[in-house]
């Protein structure tokens, strides 16, 4: 268990990072629907991931509608890759 990234080992955060892994970016609404988390929970997990440098958050507007864009950083992608390797070697 020592090799596992504790931040990513939390299921909700792992879902968020996995959802972002095949995308350039997604907005808050998409992550909210796909992760089935509450708004508060999702915001809190996004903050933790942003603090760790795994994601970037950009607050912008589309017309008059506020839009929160979330992107996985290179660090985040590498962390997910390492996490998958670690979990696979543990299960092997």
């Amino acid at each position: 268990m020592t090799d596992l990234d504790r931040l990513l080992h939390e299921p909700a955060r792992l879902v968020i990072v996995a959802l972002l892994s095949g995308l350039k970016e997604a907005d808050f609404l998409y992550l909210l629907r796909e992760s089935s988390l509450t708004k508060g929970n999702l915001s809190s997990h996004l903050s933790r991931l942003e603090e760790a440098g795994y994601i970037e958050i950009e607050k912008t507007f589309r017309g008059k509608i506020p839009l929160t864009l979330v992107r996985l950083t290179k660090t985040g992608r590498a962390a997910l890759r390492d996490y998958k390797k670690a979990i696979n070697s543990l299960l092997a």
Binding site: P11, A12, L14, V15, A18, L19, S21, G22, L23, K24, E25, A26, D27, F28, L29, Y30, L31, L32, R33, E34, K39, G40, L42, S43, I65, P66, L67, T68, L69, K84
Partner: protein, 209 residues
């Protein structure tokens, strides 16, 4: 929350692009446009306009099929889908674009060679069936991979086209009828899916935290 299934999440991401039926609707409209253009092209009198038409149209088909369609679907999704179920921007690999360009160039080169070597007409009459068969296989693969059974309707229609075009002896009009048939099926299934998508996801949802 239990440990997430990362593979299932990745599949769902890919399925999200087709969830609203818009790609089928737009692609269907494009195929109907192809059929219309073939109808216009065959109706033109031999001469400069006809020659120019048949030089320009293959380029329009390629550009329309690969690039304009992607751009068009994204613009419509920005108005229809993203405000309802969320915005995503997919990673586009350079290799996918390169494959698209290579396939287009090879297809155009193949058709041109067939036409100018004199063996063209007989082989050209088989092309709608071959294209339909490839399309049927490709769409069936996509339907199974993305767990989208709706796409099997289009795959079945393509199979019907593959069998029907030679049986009905459509000859030079094979492509015209193939595009018209497949375009109509694709547009209709896409429109039905879009209608249920809009009912399931009304626009006045809360947007942000």
């Amino acid at each position: 929350m239990v440990t997430p299934d990362l593979k299932a999440l990745a599949k769902h991401q890919a399925r999200y692009w087709n969830e609203d039926g818009l790609p089928e609707l737009v692609v269907g409209a494009l195929w109907i446009f192809y059929a219309g253009s073939l109808l216009v092209g065959t109706g033109l009198r031999p001469g400069l306009i006809r020659t120019a038409f048949w030089i320009v149209m293959p380029l329009v088909y390629v550009v329309g099929g690969f690039y304009v369609i992607q751009w068009g679907i994204k613009r419509i999704k920005e108005r229809v889908t993203y405000p309802r179920t969320g915005y995503v921007n997919y990673l586009t690999s350079r290799s996918a674009w390169a494959v698209g360009i290579v396939v287009s160039v090879l297809a155009l080169a193949g058709i041109t060679i067939l036409l100018f070597t004199g063996k063209g007409i007989g082989t050209m009459n088989l092309l709608p069936s071959i294209c339909s068969l490839l399309l049927a296989a490709g769409v069936a693969f996509l339907a199974i991979k993305q767990k989208t059974p709706r796409l099997l309707i289009l795959s079945g229609a393509a199979l019907v086209s593959a069998i029907g075009v030679p049986l009905l002896h459509l000859g030079e009009n094979g492509f015209l009828w193939m595009w018209l048939w497949l375009g109509t099926v694709s547009a209709v299934t896409g429109a039905f899916r879009l209608r249920s998508f809009l009912r399931e996801h009304p626009r006045n949802q809360e947007r942000e935290a």
